[in-house]
Amino acid sequence: MAKTQLSNLRRQEMIDGYLFIAPWLIGFVLWVAGPMIASIILAFMEWDLFSPPKWVGIQNFEQLFTTRLVGISLWNTAYYTFISVPLSLMVALGSAMLLTMQIRFQSLFRTFFYLPSVMPAVASAVLWFWVFNPEVGLANQLLRMLGLPESQWIWAPETAKPSFILMSLWGVGNTMVIFLAGLQGIPRSLYDAAEIDGANWWHSFRAVTLPMLSPVILFNLVLGIIGSFQVFTSAYLLTNGGPQHATLFVVLYLYRLGFEQFRMGFASALAWLLFLIILVFTLLQLRLSDAWVYYEGGET
């Protein structure tokens, strides 16, 4: 009798287990697995949502390699990502280190550094749209005051991407806070030991701060790259991909293909290409991280 009671309990726990995770399980099928399968099938079709879909084989994938704008959007995205992510990490780490110094009004400074990162992307877009105005915008007014040459900012193909990178640096607050927490987790004794060994500031930074912080750096790097590969809102609102396609990033191009030109098949193929690129970069970083990320306790 005790045995059946136990197995009843077990069965109840099992049923409850599935019920508790049911929301996620159903959601997974509905919004992730199902759409992914649909997306693969769509990538082999031509469909404008209105006329019946047509099977075209690998034509969409061939077009990925022959369409000029695909190459341009990939290049723009890579340029943006590979400059803005490392720069953001450096600015965030630098700010975090400044903010761990014992200094009066420290928490006020922290608030100032962090605040821009909670700004809604659309509000930031409205703001920077006017800041970057070549004639009367704040950016050029400041340059003029400092006696520096003015810039066309988002309005010239050469300066458009750097302007977007500058904007992205404005929002490093989140990354900075994660670094701050990481810095505070480093035991003081390590710095004291380095000090006794005669290390100067740079030595302790290289021998203590960087290795101890490396898991946090990896985390910020992986998330930063995934996020930055998907830049959309600012480009859509500020330049709509221009001037001369200089800010046509992949997701913006994908949006245009899908929701302006209704080329659902080609857009799906591009989505898969982007997914593969992100996947390869993520796995590559995790693989390479073995060489430079230090885990306390030796777990790798």
Partner: protein, 303 residues
């Protein structure tokens, strides 16, 4: 303010060892270092804050002052009527209501279901739990854009386009893999004795979750709530593809109309943007502790 400070509150540059060292030998140098520190902090703070301050101040300027050179920082007169003018130009209050409605539903869904699913994974045994959890973790890596187009087609087929449903229903199905992961990590730190004792007293798993464990995870649930507030309040891409009629727009979507190079009324654009910004700023100042703690939790526990 409750931004975390280090246990010792110091580092190599200003720590006890360094300070003793420097103070004893070179008081002048120490004074210089201090001054440089403050100057750097003030300059950097200015760089971070100037755009935001400029936005707030411009929203209260006359058109003439917006274009003044050198820039005017304190508007004179303070022109509150810009806000009335912004309201006259677009149905901002309606959009604000839409955004608030969507955000409220999304927060409820995210918090409720991520806590529930996390309980299942952390506390209950069932066949396939391990592999399913790995599947959940692997979806954290999946960029949203991959499923953007098929999801749009699904919602179109369901007849949900131009309604709030595509924006408020999905959060009720799991509340996001990252949130589930966070709450589960939190559950794992709570001793099992808590639920064992309740189980012996005859409590069901649902009672154990709702009455005992969920209240203990309040800090992480508040953090998830704040983050889903920010996420859904600020979201642009999803409302852009799902909502088109003027009356159903969210505030973020509607503000697009205020970015127009041929229109010189910057002060009105800035005033309109403030409708989106002010709630976030208010939330930030009241919930700063949870904001920072949330970022830290996602950053540190996530590694």
């Amino acid at each position: 303010m409750a931004i975390p400070t280090s246990k010792s509150g110091s580092n190599v540059l200003t720590g006890p060892v360094a300070r003793r060292h420097v103070r004893a030998r070179r008081p002048l140098r120490r004074y210089l270092v201090r001054t440089v520190q403050y100057v750097v902090m003030v300059v950097l703070s200015a760089i971070f804050m100037i755009p935001l301050i400029w936005m707030i101040s411009s929203s209260l300027k006359t058109q003439g002052q917006v274009f003044a050179y050198p820039p005017v920082w304190i508007p004179d007169p303070i022109q509150w009527s810009n806000y009335a003018e912004a309201l006259r130009r677009a149905p901002l209050l309606r959009w604000l209501m839409n955004t608030a409605t969507i955000t409220a539903f999304a927060i409820t869904g995210n918090v409720l279901t991520s806590s529930m699913v996390a309980f299942g994974f952390a506390r209950l045994r069932f066949p396939g739990r391990g592999p399913l959890f790995i599947l959940l973790l692997s979806t954290m890596m999946l960029p949203d854009v991959v499923t953007l187009i098929p999801r749009f087609i699904l919602f179109r087929w369901l007849g949900w386009l131009d309604t709030f449903l595509p924006l408020i229903v999905p959060p009720f199905f799991g509340g996001g893999p990252f949130n589930i992961f966070l709450v589960r990590q939190f559950y794992l730190t709570i001793p099992r004795d808590f639920d064992e004792a309740a189980r012996i007293d005859g409590a069901s798993n649902w009672q154990i979750w709702w009455l005992i464990l969920a209240p203990l995870t309040k800090p992480v649930l508040i953090a998830i709530g704040i983050f889903s507030f920010v996420h859904h309040w600020n979201d642009f891409l999803l409302p852009l593809i799902y909502l088109f009629s003027e009356r159903n727009k969210t505030l973020a979507l509607g503000l697009r109309a205020f970015i127009n190079p041929s229109d010189a009324s910057w002060h009105i654009s800035m005033a309109a943007s403030m409708f989106l910004v002010v709630p976030i700023l208010v939330l930030f100042f009241f919930g700063q502790r949870y904001f920072i703690r949330g970022v830290v939790m996602t950053g540190i526990q996530g590694r």
